[in-house]
Amino acid sequence: MTATTEIRATETDKPRHRRERRLHVSPGLLTALPVLIFLALAFAAPLLAVFGYSFMPEGTFDFTFPPTLENYLAVFSGSYYISFAKSLGLALVTVVLLMVICWPIAYGMAKLFGRWANLMTLAIIIPLFVSENIRLFGWVLFLIKGGVFLGGLKAWLGFDGESILYDVPAIVLGLVYVYLPFTLFPMVLGISMVSREVTEAAFDMGASRWQVFREVELPLATPGILIGGLLTFILSLGSLAESKILGGQAVIMIADEIETAFTFGQNWPLGSALSVILILFSGTLVLTLLSWVDLDRILGRGGND
């Protein structure tokens, strides 16, 4: 029996290696080449431009000067750390809140709601066809003093409340609202990868509801949770509109600083340096997390032999 297993294992492994080797000369690569070149230009070129500008002297608009580190020095000696820290904090809070909010919804959509899950998916997706700014502005109309919520409270209950607009809680509300689908849908996918029989087996073998969650569902849904969390984190970190529209810029987000540097500041090199730092930070975080969590192992495609 053991012998047959090993034979089988190598049999399934071999074709994969063979396919990879063939990739180098495959007609597939040749036909994909134009697209690859286009993508390389479209994605890499702007990044390279930003990278290049970040080493140009302050306030210049071309690449003809000797490179300098002055923009990075300006970033690190200034108070930009405040914007970085606050953006980071808001992104973290958003991710944590969304994890907690989305788990029960995602669980229901993946396992319980049946046909109603499609309706919910639609209900969540359709608003995405409306621009983010308009949706956030809708929240302003809802929350503003004399708006739908406070105005309604006053008219019906005589209760005169203060609006939460133009402060940190409103920004968090906006971030949670806007990025919910980005956490939710990968999480739904993650949870639907957990087979019903596996959770039932755990339950059948004496696991409590909590143990089933911790020992089986959570680890097996991790790829989806991780991808959703990272997506949300990166997007929140680079967010701008929530603070601008709902938060009255109570927090100056790092993306706001970058925009200001490129527009009103007329300082492309500084904006580029800020962008490079943000890209490096996000990139390092993503790569670290993805390598730290062994997706293959979670997905049961183990391979240490």
């Binding site: 297993t5 294992a9 596996v198 339950f203 059948d204 073998m205 192992r297 183990g302 240490n304």
Partner: protein, 352 residues
């Protein structure tokens, strides 16, 4: 007889309008290997899920050693199930899989590991599999890991939900026997469901045949084999010859053959029923030989089935299947006119 370990009385399950299980009464004895056989849609999976505690009955009772367990959830029942997909934890090693029920129970790690290694030995898996990833194991090995995991739970009853259905024929044959050996070694009560009566025959002490939510026959394999309660059961056992018959004064009139046949002893207490003859009980009648029932037709085709050969004989509209061991093969050629026959005692009467 001793008190049964598991007793079902009028057990029913409805999903909305649909009644999947319809008032089943059954007693399963301690240490028994009981198999429920039925085609898909017969309600057998719903039944075993109720027994395991994964589905709550709509009506009736499940008694474990005389105590009602209808409302006890699966994680508080002293029973354990091996699932069709095996439901191994893909993110855990073989050892962690086997230890899972012990971990849930708070057994200390060293003790857990010893128990897991014992079980690996019991199931004839190498000890170094303890650290292996489940994903690196073959189908048969996974089967054993799932068994080891269920045994680690030390259940009073072990349920099986068609665990061999996805396995290729040869390996399945081996595993069926191993399972029966394991039953003997552990002495536990096994309740097994499958759609293959053949599989059930190999392993079971008793078999229950299910159809459309009802148990149509319960009995030892021999009983089921030789005295199928109805046409459904007899056809379920594999390829058989079924002739529609109506009792008359002289015997059983068979309209499709236009002749009267002799049935087995005992009354045919129906207006219209079936005479069932297994292909191996049919034989070719050489000139000068006789049998209690004979028919003449044309040899249409033959099929080699390993050790046996099956022949298709056409008598008018009726097709007969005849099986012979290879060494007793029929000497003639296709399109020969042949006479086949059988003894009345080798046939069985069945209702619809």
């Amino acid at each position: 007889m001793a008190d049964p370990i598991l007793r079902l009385s009028q057990l029913s399950k409805r999903f909305g309008q649909f009644e999947a299980v319809k008032g089943i009464d059954l007693a399963i004895q301690e240490g028994e290997f009981f198999t429920i056989v039925g085609p898909s849609g017969s309600g057998k999976t719903t039944l075993i899920r109720m027994l395991a505690g994964l589905e709550e009955p709509s009506d009736g009772e499940i008694l474990l050693r005389g105590e009602r367990i209808n409302e006890t959830p699966a994680n508080r029942r002293p029973t354990c199930m091996v699932f069709q997909s095996l439901a191994l934890f893909p993110h855990r090693s073989v050892g962690q899989n086997i230890e899972f029920p012990l971990k849930m129970r708070g057994v200390p790690p060293v003790e857990r590991m010893n128990r897991a290694l014992d079980l690996l030995r019991l199931l004839r898996l190498p000890e170094d599999y303890y650290k292996k990833q489940v994903s690196q194991c073959s189908g048969g090995e996974r089967q054993r890991i799932a068994l080891a995991r269920a045994l680690a739970f030390d259940p009073e009853i072990l349920f099986f939900d068609e665990p061999l259905s996805a396995i290729d024929y040869r390996l399945r044959k081996t595993l069926e026997k191993e399972l029966k050996d394991l039953h003997r070694e552990t002495g536990k009560t096994f309740v097994y469901i499958t759609h293959s009566l053949e599989e059930a025959m190999v392993m079971s002490d008793r078999i229950g045949i299910m159809r459309l939510g009802e148990l149509v026959q319960v009995g030892a394999p021999d009983e089921i084999y030789s005295r199928p309660a109805n046409r459904f059961v007899s056809e379920f056992m594999g390829e058989v010859n079924v002739l529609e018959v109506k009792p008359n004064g002289a015997g059983l009139h068979c309209p499709v053959l236009g002749s009267t046949l002799q049935g087995p002893d005992g009354k045919a207490d129906f207006e219209s029923g079936y005479l069932v003859i297994r292909p191996e009980y049919l034989r070719f009648i050489a000139p000068g030989e006789t049998a209690e029932n004979t028919v003449t037709g044309v040899l249409y085709n033959e099929y080699a089935l390993g050790s046996r050969i099956q022949y298709q004989v056409r008598v008018g509209e009726q097709v007969f299947l005849v099986e012979k061991l290879r060494e007793q093969r029929y000497g003639g050629k296709l399109d020969d006119e042949v006479t086949i026959g059988w003894e009345a005692r080798d046939s069985v009467l069945a209702t619809e």
